[in-house]
Amino acid sequence: MTSGEHGKATIDPGPGARFGDGLRRFFDSDLWHSFTRSPVVVVSAVVTFVFVLSALFAPLVAPHDPFDLATIDLLDSVIPPAWMDGGDARFLLGTDDQGRDILSTVIYGARISLGVGFASVLFAMVLGISLGLLSGYLGGAVDAFIMRIADVQLTFPAILIALLIDGLSRTVLPRDLHSDIWFYVLVLAIGLSFWVQYARTVRGSTMVERSKEYVQAARVIGIPPLLIMLRHVLPNVMGPVLVIATINLAIAVITEATLSFLGIGVPLTSPSLGTLIRVGNDFLFSGSWWITVFPGAALAILVLAVNLLGDWLRDALNPKLR
């Protein structure tokens, strides 16, 4: 498309055509091509999608409800997976020591894990972007302060921070309060350990945009420049932010699983994959390996898929590698 075609009038084709156009452009884009070209990435996307769907529609997807005490029979406990000796077709992956169907607990567990994971990433993103915008736009003492906190926080590994916040909240808050708000505490704990990356990226972009003329012009007109920044800075950073978010999701899920495994994550009443693994760990030596292995496999597959997606996204959005 050479420039220099001045003077041609363009007619607005209308929103419907524009959407179709946009869709066509998307499927024609480098991103989509790079996506479909790699079978590994497509599989990862499908796997992630399956997990997300079954997490959202867990009650419909799971064959049993592991939390409905009426349906659990202690006599069904510790049954091996269906294809082994002593297995039962009703419980495809076997049951645990309480008689709960492993497949169902895994589905519900994945729901918790993904729920906490997504929420913490979202929280970190919002917090990080806001702080980054503030820091980059206001500069000066505010910037120095925020960046100093970021530096200090980076001194400590994320898991420790998450551990600290979550562990402390249990001891500090009265028990009933904690059992009500554990979700928010956990999301806060994990999210707080991640915000720095977003803040830094957004801050960099903001500082670049801040010195541009349209910001000065907007100030003269009276539009709050912060609004303008949002409209111009955000599109620029969306790419890197998305990459960070995907990789963070994997780490968030792992962190939650780790905290739950250590006993200080989600409460036992809503077990996540990490909790299931911990509970099953006790049965490892007695031969009932399926109680730990299936939740473990589910966790590993989920995180692997998300990591692969994140890797692909990072390579696809990196202009230098094109």
């Binding site: 693994i277 966790l299 590993a300």
Partner: protein, 341 residues
């Protein structure tokens, strides 16, 4: 140079003070320390007397000062649960954690860096792709899962596997505890006994795997970046031998930024040791801390915090100083040093 060191030292002290502050707030304001220490039938007067003796009614900063002064001298109070000085407990546990961490760190570095260099140099080679695939799995598996997997293979199922294939392929390794240790002063070491060394194998691999793959991917991506630079192109244009270009120029430039992150990763190892200790019931500081959280043993929690904070601050300081020594640009331009990521 001196200015830089002094400034970093001051920063470190500030951070330590902040950490100390948090630890101290924990100490005094989480629940009532008195309630945690005494039994149910202690009378109100006895509690009041205890308060006075422990100076719990003094103003905030006096208590804080006392806390700091004690901490610097190594007095961290008495554990609620174990009824022994926390310092003693920590002294018993620190060697276990440190030995485990050091072995894991060595593993991670000495395998991660060469693998990273190799996959960076041979971008599309088959072996490189294999390494990359394995590394992706490595960072996707949470540490505790790796530990459980290893326990499963080398502890639970090893006999069965060996029986199935007919010969001993999979050794049976200890999966619990530290084995026999030898006491050297206040340090108990597992390096000097066979069982101690055997017990180290699975936990250290578990701890190292995640870091190893992280380091490998980091070194690789840095290497790829460096290999694209103009000075590498120019070195090639001057006809320098491949080895000079790859190892003399590329490698050195790769390692400089890698030092910072690697240093921080080593700090992570001490933190992640916590998880490994739980999986293998390794009697280290981390296990102590987890138990303390569950038992609400505040002095232990606070002390662990301080200690970990101290480790990290020291590690960061050393890394910054190393960076300063290695990168000549920092020595000339102090402004750059402040802004270096």
């Amino acid at each position: 140079m001196i200015a830089f060191v002094v400034r970093r030292l001051l920063q470190s002290i500030l951070v330590m003070l902040a950490v100390g502050f948090i630890a101290f707030s924990l100490f005094n304001y989480v629940g009532d320390p008195i309630n945690n220490m005494v039994g149910q039938d202690t009378t109100l007067e006895q509690r009041q007397e205890l308060r006075g003796r422990l100076g719990l009614d003094d103003p905030f900063f006096v208590q804080y000062g006392r806390f700091l002064a004690n901490a610097v001298q190594g007095d961290f109070g008495i554990s609620y649960r174990h009824r022994r000085p926390v310092a003693q407990l920590i002294a018993e546990r620190v060697p276990a954690t440190l030995e485990l961490s050091i072995v894991a760190a060595i593993l991670a570095l000495f395998i991660g860096v060469p693998m990273g260099v190799y996959t960076g140099l041979h971008r599309r080679g088959f072996l490189a792709q294999v390494f990359l695939a394995v590394s992706l799995v490595g960072i996707s598996l949470p540490t505790f899962l790796i530990g459980i997997l290893l326990i499963l293979v080398f502890g639970v199922l090893s006999q069965d596997i060996n029986a199935a294939i007919g010969f001993t392929l999979v050794p049976q390794l200890p999966t619990f505890g530290r084995g026999d240790t030898v006491q050297l002063g206040w340090w108990s070491t597992g390096f000097l006994t066979k069982s101690g060394l055997l017990a180290l194998i699975l936990p250290s691999i578990t701890l190292a795997l995640f870091q190893m793959t992280l380091i490998m991917r980091l070194v690789r991506s840095e290497m790829l970046e460096v290999l694209r630079t103009d000075y590498i192109k120019f070195a090639r244009a001057r006809g320098l031998a491949n080895r000079a270009v790859n190892f003399g120029h590329a490698l050195k430039n790769t390692l400089v930024p890698v030092i910072t992150i690697t240093g921080l990763q080593l700090g992570s190892i001490i933190a992640f040791a916590l998880i490994t200790e739980q999986v293998f019931q390794w009697p280290g500081m981390g296990l102590l801390f987890i138990q303390a959280i569950n038992e609400v043993d505040i002095p232990v929690m606070a002390s662990y915090l301080m200690l970990i904070g101290f480790f990290f601050v020291v590690i960061n300081l050393i890394v910054d100083l190393l960076y300063y020594v290695v990168d000549p640009r920092l020595r000339a331009d102090k402004a750059v040093a402040a802004g270096h990521q």
